[in-house]
Protein backbone atom coordinates (compact mmCIF):
# COMPACT_ATOMS: atom_id res chain seq x y z
CA UNK A 1 0.00 0.00 0.00
CA UNK A 2 1.33 3.42 -0.94
CA UNK A 3 1.76 6.01 1.81
CA UNK A 4 -0.27 9.17 1.35
CA UNK A 5 1.51 12.52 1.85
CA UNK A 6 -0.46 13.09 5.07
CA UNK A 7 0.73 9.80 6.57
CA UNK A 8 4.30 10.52 5.46
CA UNK A 9 4.19 13.94 7.06
CA UNK A 10 2.87 12.48 10.32
CA UNK A 11 5.63 9.91 10.29
CA UNK A 12 8.27 12.62 9.75
CA UNK A 13 6.83 14.63 12.62
CA UNK A 14 6.91 11.62 14.94
CA UNK A 15 10.55 10.95 14.07
CA UNK A 16 11.46 14.59 14.71
CA UNK A 17 9.78 14.41 18.11
CA UNK A 18 11.53 11.18 19.06
CA UNK A 19 14.90 12.55 18.01
CA UNK A 20 14.44 15.85 19.85
CA UNK A 21 13.29 14.08 23.00
CA UNK A 22 16.29 11.74 22.86
CA UNK A 23 18.76 14.61 22.52
CA UNK A 24 17.14 16.60 25.32
CA UNK A 25 17.10 13.58 27.65
CA UNK A 26 20.74 12.76 26.86
CA UNK A 27 21.73 16.36 27.64
CA UNK A 28 19.59 17.12 30.68
CA UNK A 29 19.12 13.74 32.40
CA UNK A 30 22.64 13.69 33.90
CA UNK A 31 22.05 17.14 35.41
CA UNK A 32 18.77 15.96 36.88
CA UNK A 33 20.52 12.84 38.25
CA UNK A 34 23.15 15.03 39.87
CA UNK A 35 20.47 17.15 41.47
CA UNK A 36 18.64 14.04 42.71
CA UNK A 37 21.87 12.57 44.14
CA UNK A 38 22.35 15.74 46.20
CA UNK A 39 19.00 15.14 47.92
CA UNK A 40 20.00 11.64 49.04
CA UNK A 41 20.04 11.37 52.83
CA UNK A 42 22.58 8.56 52.63
CA UNK A 43 26.25 9.50 52.41
CA UNK A 44 26.88 7.03 49.61
CA UNK A 45 25.93 7.39 46.02
CA UNK A 46 23.28 5.02 44.66
CA UNK A 47 19.91 4.80 42.96
CA UNK A 48 17.10 4.39 43.76
CA UNK A 49 17.21 6.96 46.53
CA UNK A 50 15.53 5.57 49.65
CA UNK A 51 15.24 8.71 51.80
CA UNK A 52 15.27 12.27 50.48
CA UNK A 53 16.76 15.09 52.56
CA UNK A 54 18.07 18.63 52.15
CA UNK A 55 20.73 18.29 54.84
CA UNK A 56 23.63 18.05 52.36
CA UNK A 57 22.56 21.31 50.75
CA UNK A 58 22.50 22.88 54.20
CA UNK A 59 25.96 21.48 54.96
CA UNK A 60 27.28 22.73 51.64
CA UNK A 61 25.96 26.23 52.29
CA UNK A 62 27.44 26.20 55.82
CA UNK A 63 30.88 24.91 54.82
CA UNK A 64 33.65 27.47 55.25
CA UNK A 65 35.89 25.58 52.84
CA UNK A 66 33.24 25.64 50.11
CA UNK A 67 32.52 29.30 50.77
CA UNK A 68 36.17 30.02 50.14
CA UNK A 69 36.43 28.11 46.88
CA UNK A 70 33.18 29.63 45.60
CA UNK A 71 34.70 33.03 46.31
CA UNK A 72 37.83 31.92 44.41
CA UNK A 73 35.74 30.82 41.43
CA UNK A 74 33.79 34.08 41.42
CA UNK A 75 36.91 36.20 41.80
CA UNK A 76 38.66 34.39 38.95
CA UNK A 77 35.58 34.55 36.70
CA UNK A 78 34.99 38.26 37.38
CA UNK A 79 38.60 39.21 36.78
CA UNK A 80 38.71 37.08 33.62
CA UNK A 81 35.49 38.71 32.40
CA UNK A 82 36.73 42.23 33.02
CA UNK A 83 40.13 41.74 31.43
CA UNK A 84 39.04 39.58 28.52
CA UNK A 85 36.22 41.91 27.47
CA UNK A 86 38.60 44.86 27.18
CA UNK A 87 41.26 42.89 25.29
CA UNK A 88 38.67 41.18 23.11
CA UNK A 89 36.74 44.35 22.19
CA UNK A 90 39.82 46.03 20.76
CA UNK A 91 41.02 42.67 19.44
CA UNK A 92 37.71 42.19 17.63
CA UNK A 93 38.03 45.62 16.02
CA UNK A 94 41.49 44.65 14.82
CA UNK A 95 40.10 41.29 13.75
CA UNK A 96 37.08 42.44 11.79
CA UNK A 97 37.00 46.21 11.37
CA UNK A 98 40.42 47.41 10.31
CA UNK A 99 42.47 46.34 7.35
CA UNK A 100 46.13 46.05 8.24
CA UNK A 101 49.17 44.10 7.23
CA UNK A 102 49.30 40.77 9.06
CA UNK A 103 45.60 40.80 9.87
CA UNK A 104 44.96 37.42 8.27
CA UNK A 105 47.78 35.86 10.25
CA UNK A 106 46.43 37.46 13.43
CA UNK A 107 42.96 36.09 12.67
CA UNK A 108 44.38 32.56 12.55
CA UNK A 109 46.82 32.87 15.46
CA UNK A 110 44.29 34.38 17.84
CA UNK A 111 41.95 31.44 17.31
CA UNK A 112 44.49 28.67 17.77
CA UNK A 113 44.38 28.50 21.60
CA UNK A 114 40.69 27.56 21.36
CA UNK A 115 41.69 24.31 19.69
CA UNK A 116 44.61 23.46 22.00
CA UNK A 117 43.76 20.56 24.29
CA UNK A 118 43.22 22.37 27.59
CA UNK A 119 45.19 19.92 29.77
CA UNK A 120 48.17 20.41 27.46
CA UNK A 121 47.71 24.19 27.56
CA UNK A 122 47.44 24.03 31.36
CA UNK A 123 50.57 21.93 31.67
CA UNK A 124 52.47 24.20 29.30
CA UNK A 125 51.47 27.25 31.32
CA UNK A 126 52.43 25.55 34.59
CA UNK A 127 55.87 24.73 33.17
CA UNK A 128 56.13 28.29 31.94
CA UNK A 129 55.24 29.76 35.35
CA UNK A 130 57.80 27.46 36.97
CA UNK A 131 60.45 28.40 34.47
CA UNK A 132 60.11 32.12 35.19
CA UNK A 133 59.71 31.48 38.90
CA UNK A 134 56.09 32.54 39.43
CA UNK A 135 54.29 30.93 42.35
CA UNK A 136 50.98 29.52 41.03
CA UNK A 137 47.79 30.77 42.70
CA UNK A 138 44.30 31.89 41.66
CA UNK A 139 45.96 34.85 39.91
CA UNK A 140 47.98 32.58 37.63
CA UNK A 141 44.74 30.71 36.97
CA UNK A 142 43.24 34.01 35.80
CA UNK A 143 46.09 34.32 33.32
CA UNK A 144 45.61 30.73 32.13
CA UNK A 145 41.85 31.26 31.67
CA UNK A 146 42.54 34.43 29.68
CA UNK A 147 44.77 32.55 27.23
CA UNK A 148 41.86 30.32 26.37
CA UNK A 149 38.90 32.67 26.85
CA UNK A 150 40.13 35.86 25.15
CA UNK A 151 40.09 34.18 21.70
CA UNK A 152 36.53 32.94 22.26
CA UNK A 153 35.31 36.36 23.40
CA UNK A 154 37.19 38.03 20.53
CA UNK A 155 35.30 35.84 18.08
CA UNK A 156 31.94 36.52 19.76
CA UNK A 157 32.49 40.30 19.60
CA UNK A 158 33.98 40.11 16.08
CA UNK A 159 30.67 38.71 14.82
CA UNK A 160 29.01 41.90 16.07
CA UNK A 161 31.74 44.02 14.46
CA UNK A 162 31.16 42.34 11.10
CA UNK A 163 27.49 43.25 11.40
CA UNK A 164 27.96 47.00 11.49
CA UNK A 165 28.57 49.45 8.68
CA UNK A 166 32.03 51.10 9.06
CA UNK A 167 30.68 54.26 7.44
CA UNK A 168 28.75 54.88 10.69
CA UNK A 169 32.05 55.64 12.43
CA UNK A 170 33.18 57.78 9.52
CA UNK A 171 29.90 59.67 9.60
CA UNK A 172 30.32 60.42 13.31
CA UNK A 173 33.91 61.53 12.72
CA UNK A 174 32.72 63.71 9.85
CA UNK A 175 30.06 65.30 12.07
CA UNK A 176 32.71 66.61 14.43
CA UNK A 177 33.38 63.74 16.86
CA UNK A 178 36.84 63.17 18.27
CA UNK A 179 38.10 59.57 18.08
CA UNK A 180 37.02 59.06 21.70
CA UNK A 181 33.55 60.46 20.98
CA UNK A 182 33.18 58.17 17.96
CA UNK A 183 33.93 55.21 20.20
CA UNK A 184 31.57 56.33 22.95
CA UNK A 185 28.70 57.51 20.76
CA UNK A 186 28.74 54.96 17.96
CA UNK A 187 31.17 52.05 18.25
CA UNK A 188 30.46 51.05 21.84
CA UNK A 189 26.63 51.28 21.72
CA UNK A 190 26.55 49.28 18.50
CA UNK A 191 28.96 46.64 19.80
CA UNK A 192 27.19 46.45 23.14
CA UNK A 193 25.10 43.31 22.39
CA UNK A 194 28.26 41.48 21.31
CA UNK A 195 30.22 42.76 24.31
CA UNK A 196 27.43 41.65 26.63
CA UNK A 197 27.35 38.13 25.13
CA UNK A 198 31.15 38.09 25.28
CA UNK A 199 31.02 38.93 29.00
CA UNK A 200 28.57 36.12 29.68
CA UNK A 201 30.73 33.72 27.70
CA UNK A 202 33.85 34.80 29.57
CA UNK A 203 32.28 34.42 33.00
CA UNK A 204 30.67 31.07 32.31
CA UNK A 205 33.68 29.54 30.56
CA UNK A 206 35.90 30.56 33.46
CA UNK A 207 33.33 29.49 36.06
CA UNK A 208 33.16 25.96 34.70
CA UNK A 209 36.80 25.53 33.68
CA UNK A 210 38.53 22.55 35.25
CA UNK A 211 41.72 21.58 33.33
CA UNK A 212 43.36 25.00 33.34
CA UNK A 213 42.54 25.61 37.00
CA UNK A 214 43.81 22.15 37.97
CA UNK A 215 47.25 22.93 36.60
CA UNK A 216 47.60 26.63 37.25
CA UNK A 217 45.64 27.57 40.40
CA UNK A 218 48.28 26.11 42.69
CA UNK A 219 47.02 25.64 46.23
CA UNK A 220 43.88 27.69 45.59
CA UNK A 221 40.84 25.60 44.80
CA UNK A 222 37.88 26.36 42.55
CA UNK A 223 34.48 24.72 42.30
CA UNK A 224 35.39 22.31 39.44
CA UNK A 225 38.71 21.49 41.13
CA UNK A 226 37.02 20.68 44.41
CA UNK A 227 34.32 18.55 42.72
CA UNK A 228 37.04 16.50 41.07
CA UNK A 229 39.12 16.13 44.22
CA UNK A 230 36.10 14.97 46.24
CA UNK A 231 35.05 12.51 43.54
CA UNK A 232 38.49 10.95 43.67
CA UNK A 233 38.56 10.74 47.45
CA UNK A 234 36.01 11.64 50.09
CA UNK A 235 32.67 11.68 48.25
CA UNK A 236 29.65 13.06 50.06
CA UNK A 237 26.35 14.30 48.54
CA UNK A 238 27.87 17.77 48.98
CA UNK A 239 29.60 17.09 45.64
CA UNK A 240 26.39 16.86 43.59
CA UNK A 241 24.87 19.59 45.79
CA UNK A 242 27.63 22.06 44.95
CA UNK A 243 27.61 20.88 41.32
CA UNK A 244 23.88 21.57 41.09
CA UNK A 245 24.30 24.96 42.75
CA UNK A 246 27.04 25.88 40.28
CA UNK A 247 24.82 24.81 37.39
CA UNK A 248 21.86 26.77 38.75
CA UNK A 249 24.12 29.78 39.23
CA UNK A 250 25.26 29.60 35.62
CA UNK A 251 21.69 29.11 34.39
CA UNK A 252 20.36 32.10 36.32
CA UNK A 253 23.25 34.26 35.09
CA UNK A 254 22.39 33.29 31.53
CA UNK A 255 18.70 33.98 32.13
CA UNK A 256 19.43 37.30 33.80
CA UNK A 257 21.81 38.27 31.00
CA UNK A 258 19.15 37.49 28.41
CA UNK A 259 16.57 39.53 30.31
CA UNK A 260 18.83 42.57 30.57
CA UNK A 261 19.51 42.31 26.85
CA UNK A 262 15.78 42.24 26.16
CA UNK A 263 15.17 45.27 28.39
CA UNK A 264 17.94 47.22 26.65
CA UNK A 265 16.37 46.48 23.25
CA UNK A 266 13.00 47.68 24.52
CA UNK A 267 14.51 50.97 25.56
CA UNK A 268 15.34 51.87 21.98
CA UNK A 269 13.12 54.49 20.33
CA UNK A 270 9.77 53.22 19.10
Amino acid sequence: MATTPAVARRRTNTLIWIWTAFVLIAVYLPIVCGALASFNKSRYFGFPIKVYATEWWQKTLDSIEIGMLVRNSIAIALLVTAISVVIATFGALAFARYDWKGRRLYQKLILLPVFFPQPVLGLALLLGFNAVGIQTSWLTAVFAHLVWIVPVVTLVIAIQVYGFDPSLEEAAYDLGCTRVQVFREVTLPLLWPGIWSGMLFAFLLSWSNFPLSLYTAGADSTIPKWLYAKMVAGYTPMVPALGTMATLGAASLLLGGGLIMLLLRRRQPA
Binding site: D165, S167, L168, E170, A171, A172, Y173, D174, L175, G176, C177, T178, Q181, E185, V186, P189, L190, Q268, P269, A270
Partner: protein, 369 residues
Protein backbone atom coordinates in the same frame (compact mmCIF):
# COMPACT_ATOMS: atom_id res chain seq x y z
CA UNK B 1 25.17 103.76 -16.05
CA UNK B 2 23.43 100.62 -17.10
CA UNK B 3 24.99 97.44 -18.15
CA UNK B 4 23.24 94.88 -20.22
CA UNK B 5 23.67 91.41 -18.90
CA UNK B 6 23.24 88.72 -21.49
CA UNK B 7 20.50 86.26 -20.59
CA UNK B 8 22.87 83.33 -20.55
CA UNK B 9 25.44 84.95 -18.25
CA UNK B 10 26.26 82.96 -15.13
CA UNK B 11 24.92 84.36 -11.83
CA UNK B 12 27.01 87.23 -10.49
CA UNK B 13 28.28 85.32 -7.45
CA UNK B 14 29.65 82.56 -9.66
CA UNK B 15 31.65 84.96 -11.76
CA UNK B 16 33.10 87.05 -8.96
CA UNK B 17 33.36 84.73 -5.97
CA UNK B 18 36.68 83.17 -5.11
CA UNK B 19 36.74 79.40 -5.33
CA UNK B 20 35.71 77.89 -2.00
CA UNK B 21 37.55 74.67 -2.80
CA UNK B 22 40.57 74.46 -5.02
CA UNK B 23 42.25 71.28 -6.24
CA UNK B 24 45.67 71.43 -7.83
CA UNK B 25 47.25 68.29 -9.30
CA UNK B 26 45.47 66.00 -6.85
CA UNK B 27 46.53 62.37 -7.17
CA UNK B 28 45.68 59.32 -5.11
CA UNK B 29 47.69 56.13 -5.40
CA UNK B 30 46.62 52.77 -4.00
CA UNK B 31 49.75 50.66 -4.26
CA UNK B 32 50.82 51.12 -7.86
CA UNK B 33 47.36 52.07 -9.04
CA UNK B 34 46.34 55.70 -9.49
CA UNK B 35 42.66 55.94 -8.52
CA UNK B 36 42.72 59.71 -9.06
CA UNK B 37 45.24 61.11 -11.48
CA UNK B 38 46.07 64.79 -11.42
CA UNK B 39 42.85 66.68 -10.88
CA UNK B 40 42.70 70.47 -11.16
CA UNK B 41 39.37 71.96 -10.20
CA UNK B 42 37.96 75.16 -8.77
CA UNK B 43 34.67 74.88 -6.93
CA UNK B 44 32.79 78.15 -6.66
CA UNK B 45 31.08 79.29 -3.50
CA UNK B 46 27.42 78.33 -3.55
CA UNK B 47 27.42 76.21 -6.67
CA UNK B 48 25.94 72.77 -7.20
CA UNK B 49 28.72 70.77 -8.80
CA UNK B 50 28.20 67.17 -9.84
CA UNK B 51 30.98 64.74 -10.64
CA UNK B 52 29.77 61.97 -12.92
CA UNK B 53 31.59 58.92 -14.14
CA UNK B 54 31.22 55.18 -14.46
CA UNK B 55 32.00 53.01 -11.44
CA UNK B 56 35.74 52.78 -10.88
CA UNK B 57 36.40 56.20 -12.41
CA UNK B 58 37.72 57.49 -9.08
CA UNK B 59 34.86 59.80 -8.17
CA UNK B 60 34.29 58.28 -4.73
CA UNK B 61 38.02 58.46 -3.97
CA UNK B 62 38.00 62.10 -5.00
CA UNK B 63 35.07 62.82 -2.71
CA UNK B 64 36.69 61.00 0.20
CA UNK B 65 39.77 63.19 -0.19
CA UNK B 66 37.61 66.31 -0.19
CA UNK B 67 35.82 65.10 2.94
CA UNK B 68 39.11 64.24 4.65
CA UNK B 69 38.62 60.48 4.88
CA UNK B 70 41.50 59.86 2.48
CA UNK B 71 44.61 61.95 1.96
CA UNK B 72 45.94 62.83 -1.49
CA UNK B 73 49.24 61.19 -2.43
CA UNK B 74 50.19 64.32 -4.37
CA UNK B 75 48.76 67.75 -5.04
CA UNK B 76 46.96 70.28 -2.89
CA UNK B 77 43.42 70.77 -1.72
CA UNK B 78 42.68 74.22 -0.35
CA UNK B 79 39.51 75.44 1.30
CA UNK B 80 39.12 79.23 1.25
CA UNK B 81 42.86 79.44 0.66
CA UNK B 82 43.83 77.15 3.53
CA UNK B 83 45.66 73.92 2.72
CA UNK B 84 43.51 71.08 4.07
CA UNK B 85 45.21 67.96 2.65
CA UNK B 86 45.73 66.43 6.09
CA UNK B 87 42.96 68.13 8.05
CA UNK B 88 40.81 65.39 9.62
CA UNK B 89 37.06 65.27 8.78
CA UNK B 90 35.99 66.39 12.26
CA UNK B 91 37.81 69.71 11.84
CA UNK B 92 36.65 70.43 8.28
CA UNK B 93 33.64 72.67 7.74
CA UNK B 94 32.33 70.05 5.33
CA UNK B 95 29.88 67.19 5.66
CA UNK B 96 29.36 64.04 3.63
CA UNK B 97 26.01 62.36 2.99
CA UNK B 98 26.96 58.72 2.52
CA UNK B 99 25.66 56.35 -0.12
CA UNK B 100 24.46 54.09 2.70
CA UNK B 101 23.33 57.29 4.52
CA UNK B 102 25.08 55.88 7.63
CA UNK B 103 22.23 56.81 9.96
CA UNK B 104 22.88 55.76 13.55
CA UNK B 105 20.54 52.80 14.05
CA UNK B 106 20.56 53.12 17.86
CA UNK B 107 19.36 56.71 17.79
CA UNK B 108 15.96 58.25 17.05
CA UNK B 109 15.31 60.57 14.10
CA UNK B 110 15.77 63.61 16.34
CA UNK B 111 18.95 62.25 17.94
CA UNK B 112 20.39 61.49 14.52
CA UNK B 113 19.66 65.01 13.28
CA UNK B 114 20.99 66.73 16.40
CA UNK B 115 24.08 64.53 16.62
CA UNK B 116 26.54 67.22 15.55
CA UNK B 117 25.06 69.56 18.17
CA UNK B 118 25.37 66.96 20.92
CA UNK B 119 29.02 66.50 19.99
CA UNK B 120 29.53 70.25 20.31
CA UNK B 121 27.98 70.16 23.79
CA UNK B 122 24.73 71.97 22.97
CA UNK B 123 22.03 71.41 25.64
CA UNK B 124 19.14 69.01 25.06
CA UNK B 125 16.39 71.65 24.78
CA UNK B 126 18.25 73.63 22.11
CA UNK B 127 19.08 70.42 20.26
CA UNK B 128 15.43 69.43 20.10
CA UNK B 129 14.41 72.90 18.92
CA UNK B 130 17.00 72.85 16.14
CA UNK B 131 16.15 69.26 15.15
CA UNK B 132 12.49 70.21 14.75
CA UNK B 133 13.44 73.27 12.67
CA UNK B 134 15.56 71.14 10.36
CA UNK B 135 12.84 68.49 10.14
CA UNK B 136 10.55 71.20 8.78
CA UNK B 137 13.21 72.25 6.27
CA UNK B 138 13.47 68.71 4.90
CA UNK B 139 9.70 68.19 5.19
CA UNK B 140 9.56 65.59 7.95
CA UNK B 141 6.55 65.67 10.30
CA UNK B 142 7.24 66.82 13.90
CA UNK B 143 6.03 63.55 15.43
CA UNK B 144 8.96 61.76 13.77
CA UNK B 145 11.34 63.32 16.31
CA UNK B 146 11.26 60.28 18.60
CA UNK B 147 10.75 57.69 15.88
CA UNK B 148 13.23 54.84 15.46
CA UNK B 149 15.23 55.81 12.42
CA UNK B 150 15.33 52.20 11.19
CA UNK B 151 11.53 52.23 10.96
CA UNK B 152 11.53 55.12 8.48
CA UNK B 153 11.02 54.58 4.75
CA UNK B 154 13.82 55.05 2.22
CA UNK B 155 12.74 58.59 1.33
CA UNK B 156 12.35 59.58 4.98
CA UNK B 157 15.82 58.28 5.83
CA UNK B 158 17.16 60.36 2.97
CA UNK B 159 15.66 63.45 4.59
CA UNK B 160 17.02 62.52 8.03
CA UNK B 161 20.52 62.17 6.56
CA UNK B 162 20.19 65.55 4.88
CA UNK B 163 18.93 67.26 8.03
CA UNK B 164 21.73 65.67 10.04
CA UNK B 165 24.28 67.13 7.63
CA UNK B 166 22.63 70.58 7.78
CA UNK B 167 22.75 70.50 11.59
CA UNK B 168 26.55 70.45 11.35
CA UNK B 169 26.20 73.73 9.43
CA UNK B 170 28.92 72.91 6.91
CA UNK B 171 30.16 75.31 4.24
CA UNK B 172 30.32 72.49 1.71
CA UNK B 173 28.08 69.42 1.53
CA UNK B 174 29.22 66.27 -0.24
CA UNK B 175 26.83 63.66 -1.56
CA UNK B 176 27.96 60.15 -2.46
CA UNK B 177 25.11 58.88 -4.68
CA UNK B 178 22.60 59.05 -1.83
CA UNK B 179 19.63 58.54 -4.15
CA UNK B 180 20.89 55.44 -5.92
CA UNK B 181 18.88 52.96 -3.84
CA UNK B 182 15.51 54.63 -4.36
CA UNK B 183 12.81 53.88 -6.89
CA UNK B 184 12.56 56.08 -9.96
CA UNK B 185 9.64 58.26 -8.95
CA UNK B 186 10.92 59.04 -5.46
CA UNK B 187 14.36 59.71 -6.87
CA UNK B 188 12.97 62.26 -9.33
CA UNK B 189 11.02 63.98 -6.54
CA UNK B 190 14.03 64.11 -4.22
CA UNK B 191 16.31 65.42 -6.98
CA UNK B 192 14.04 68.44 -7.29
CA UNK B 193 13.84 68.88 -3.51
CA UNK B 194 17.60 68.73 -3.24
CA UNK B 195 17.90 71.42 -5.87
CA UNK B 196 15.38 73.56 -3.96
CA UNK B 197 17.29 73.03 -0.72
CA UNK B 198 20.48 74.04 -2.46
CA UNK B 199 18.89 77.30 -3.55
CA UNK B 200 17.28 77.95 -0.16
CA UNK B 201 20.40 77.28 1.90
CA UNK B 202 22.95 78.81 -0.47
CA UNK B 203 25.51 76.15 0.53
CA UNK B 204 28.05 74.66 -1.86
CA UNK B 205 26.97 71.17 -2.93
CA UNK B 206 29.31 68.62 -4.47
CA UNK B 207 27.42 65.59 -5.64
CA UNK B 208 28.71 62.42 -7.22
CA UNK B 209 26.71 59.98 -9.28
CA UNK B 210 27.07 57.61 -12.19
CA UNK B 211 23.82 58.94 -13.63
CA UNK B 212 24.26 61.88 -15.94
CA UNK B 213 20.50 62.25 -16.04
CA UNK B 214 20.58 62.98 -12.30
CA UNK B 215 23.46 65.39 -12.80
CA UNK B 216 21.65 67.28 -15.59
CA UNK B 217 18.56 67.90 -13.46
CA UNK B 218 20.34 69.33 -10.43
CA UNK B 219 23.70 70.79 -11.28
CA UNK B 220 25.07 74.24 -12.05
CA UNK B 221 28.18 72.52 -13.38
CA UNK B 222 29.09 68.95 -14.19
CA UNK B 223 32.50 67.32 -14.18
CA UNK B 224 32.86 64.08 -16.14
CA UNK B 225 35.44 61.63 -14.81
CA UNK B 226 37.07 58.69 -16.55
CA UNK B 227 39.89 56.50 -15.26
CA UNK B 228 40.86 58.93 -12.51
CA UNK B 229 40.86 62.03 -14.70
CA UNK B 230 38.42 64.89 -15.12
CA UNK B 231 37.68 64.76 -18.83
CA UNK B 232 35.42 67.80 -19.01
CA UNK B 233 33.94 70.34 -16.64
CA UNK B 234 31.09 72.56 -17.76
CA UNK B 235 27.47 73.55 -17.44
CA UNK B 236 24.91 70.86 -18.29
CA UNK B 237 24.40 72.64 -21.62
CA UNK B 238 28.12 72.54 -22.39
CA UNK B 239 28.40 68.87 -21.49
CA UNK B 240 25.38 68.07 -23.61
CA UNK B 241 25.99 70.48 -26.42
CA UNK B 242 29.76 70.46 -26.72
CA UNK B 243 31.28 67.21 -25.45
CA UNK B 244 35.08 67.20 -25.74
CA UNK B 245 35.32 63.58 -26.82
CA UNK B 246 33.36 60.46 -27.62
CA UNK B 247 33.42 59.26 -24.01
CA UNK B 248 31.60 62.36 -22.80
CA UNK B 249 29.19 62.38 -25.74
CA UNK B 250 28.30 58.73 -25.24
CA UNK B 251 28.02 59.18 -21.48
CA UNK B 252 25.25 61.74 -21.97
CA UNK B 253 23.04 59.26 -23.75
CA UNK B 254 22.67 57.09 -26.80
CA UNK B 255 24.40 58.62 -29.78
CA UNK B 256 25.30 57.78 -33.36
CA UNK B 257 29.03 57.79 -33.91
CA UNK B 258 30.54 57.63 -37.41
CA UNK B 259 34.23 57.43 -38.18
CA UNK B 260 35.44 59.64 -41.08
CA UNK B 261 38.70 60.18 -42.93
CA UNK B 262 39.69 63.29 -44.82
CA UNK B 263 40.84 63.35 -48.42
CA UNK B 264 41.68 66.91 -49.34
CA UNK B 265 38.62 68.98 -48.48
CA UNK B 266 36.25 65.99 -48.46
CA UNK B 267 35.31 63.71 -45.62
CA UNK B 268 34.67 60.05 -46.43
CA UNK B 269 32.76 57.65 -44.22
CA UNK B 270 34.64 54.64 -42.87
CA UNK B 271 31.64 52.67 -41.50
CA UNK B 272 29.15 53.99 -44.07
CA UNK B 273 29.59 54.88 -47.72
CA UNK B 274 29.56 58.45 -49.06
CA UNK B 275 31.06 61.86 -48.55
CA UNK B 276 29.92 64.11 -45.73
CA UNK B 277 29.93 67.70 -44.61
CA UNK B 278 31.40 68.17 -41.15
CA UNK B 279 31.29 71.13 -38.83
CA UNK B 280 34.82 72.17 -37.86
CA UNK B 281 35.88 70.74 -34.50
CA UNK B 282 35.18 73.09 -31.57
CA UNK B 283 38.83 73.25 -30.55
CA UNK B 284 39.83 74.16 -34.10
CA UNK B 285 42.19 71.20 -34.44
CA UNK B 286 43.19 70.14 -37.95
CA UNK B 287 42.13 66.52 -38.23
CA UNK B 288 42.74 63.83 -40.82
CA UNK B 289 40.56 61.39 -39.00
CA UNK B 290 37.46 62.32 -37.03
CA UNK B 291 34.43 60.96 -35.28
CA UNK B 292 31.07 62.51 -35.98
CA UNK B 293 28.63 62.23 -33.13
CA UNK B 294 24.96 62.81 -33.92
CA UNK B 295 22.33 62.61 -31.20
CA UNK B 296 19.31 60.51 -32.24
CA UNK B 297 16.99 63.48 -31.75
CA UNK B 298 18.90 65.44 -34.43
CA UNK B 299 18.48 62.66 -36.99
CA UNK B 300 15.41 62.84 -39.18
CA UNK B 301 13.68 60.95 -41.95
CA UNK B 302 13.96 62.69 -45.29
CA UNK B 303 11.12 62.78 -47.79
CA UNK B 304 12.02 63.28 -51.47
CA UNK B 305 12.95 66.93 -51.93
CA UNK B 306 13.85 67.52 -48.23
CA UNK B 307 17.28 69.01 -47.89
CA UNK B 308 19.92 68.05 -45.33
CA UNK B 309 23.71 68.45 -45.20
CA UNK B 310 24.23 64.72 -44.91
CA UNK B 311 22.15 61.72 -45.86
CA UNK B 312 22.22 57.94 -45.57
CA UNK B 313 19.94 55.23 -46.98
CA UNK B 314 18.88 52.31 -44.85
CA UNK B 315 16.06 50.14 -43.59
CA UNK B 316 14.09 50.49 -40.36
CA UNK B 317 14.23 47.17 -38.57
CA UNK B 318 13.10 48.06 -35.06
CA UNK B 319 11.10 50.72 -33.34
CA UNK B 320 10.73 51.33 -29.62
CA UNK B 321 8.22 53.47 -27.84
CA UNK B 322 9.91 55.76 -25.31
CA UNK B 323 6.59 57.18 -24.15
CA UNK B 324 6.21 60.56 -25.79
CA UNK B 325 8.97 59.70 -28.27
CA UNK B 326 9.74 56.84 -30.61
CA UNK B 327 13.18 55.49 -31.34
CA UNK B 328 13.89 53.82 -34.68
CA UNK B 329 16.82 51.57 -35.37
CA UNK B 330 17.89 51.98 -38.96
CA UNK B 331 20.39 49.59 -40.49
CA UNK B 332 22.79 51.31 -42.89
CA UNK B 333 25.05 48.58 -44.26
CA UNK B 334 26.70 47.06 -41.15
CA UNK B 335 25.96 50.10 -39.01
CA UNK B 336 22.86 50.68 -36.87
CA UNK B 337 21.76 54.31 -36.68
CA UNK B 338 19.30 55.64 -34.12
CA UNK B 339 16.58 58.13 -35.00
CA UNK B 340 14.39 59.55 -32.27
CA UNK B 341 11.20 61.42 -33.10
CA UNK B 342 8.26 62.77 -31.19
CA UNK B 343 5.10 60.79 -31.74
CA UNK B 344 3.70 63.57 -33.95
CA UNK B 345 6.45 62.93 -36.50
CA UNK B 346 6.34 59.11 -36.36
CA UNK B 347 6.47 57.08 -39.54
CA UNK B 348 2.97 56.26 -40.76
CA UNK B 349 2.12 52.58 -40.17
CA UNK B 350 1.86 51.89 -43.89
CA UNK B 351 4.94 53.86 -44.93
CA UNK B 352 7.88 52.14 -46.59
CA UNK B 353 10.57 50.90 -44.19
CA UNK B 354 13.22 51.70 -46.78
CA UNK B 355 14.19 55.19 -45.66
CA UNK B 356 16.62 58.01 -46.14
CA UNK B 357 17.88 59.60 -42.95
CA UNK B 358 19.81 62.81 -42.64
CA UNK B 359 21.28 65.47 -40.38
CA UNK B 360 22.78 68.91 -40.64
CA UNK B 361 26.47 69.46 -39.97
CA UNK B 362 25.73 72.11 -37.35
CA UNK B 363 23.72 69.61 -35.26
CA UNK B 364 26.59 67.14 -34.96
CA UNK B 365 29.93 67.22 -33.13
CA UNK B 366 33.22 66.62 -34.87
CA UNK B 367 35.62 65.06 -32.41
CA UNK B 368 39.23 64.00 -32.70
CA UNK B 369 39.01 61.16 -30.19
Amino acid sequence: MFQTIPADAPPAHAATALPILQLVGVRKMFGGFAAVEGIDLDVREGEFLTIVGPSGSGKTTLLRMLAGMDQPSEGNITLRGELINDMPPNRRPTCLVFQSLALFPHKSVGENIAFALKVKGVDAATRKKRALELMRVVRLPDNYHDKNVMKCSGGERQRVALARAFAYDPDVLFFDEPLSALDYKLKKALEKELKDLHRETGKTFIYITHSLEEAMVMSDRIGVMRAGKLVQVGTPEEIYGAPVDRFVSEFVGEVNTLKMTRAGAEWHGVDVPGTFTLAPPKDGAALDEAFVVIRPEYMRFLAPGDRADNRLSGAVYNEYSLGSRIQYQVRVGEKVMLVELSRAHALAPGASREVTIGWDAADAFTLGS
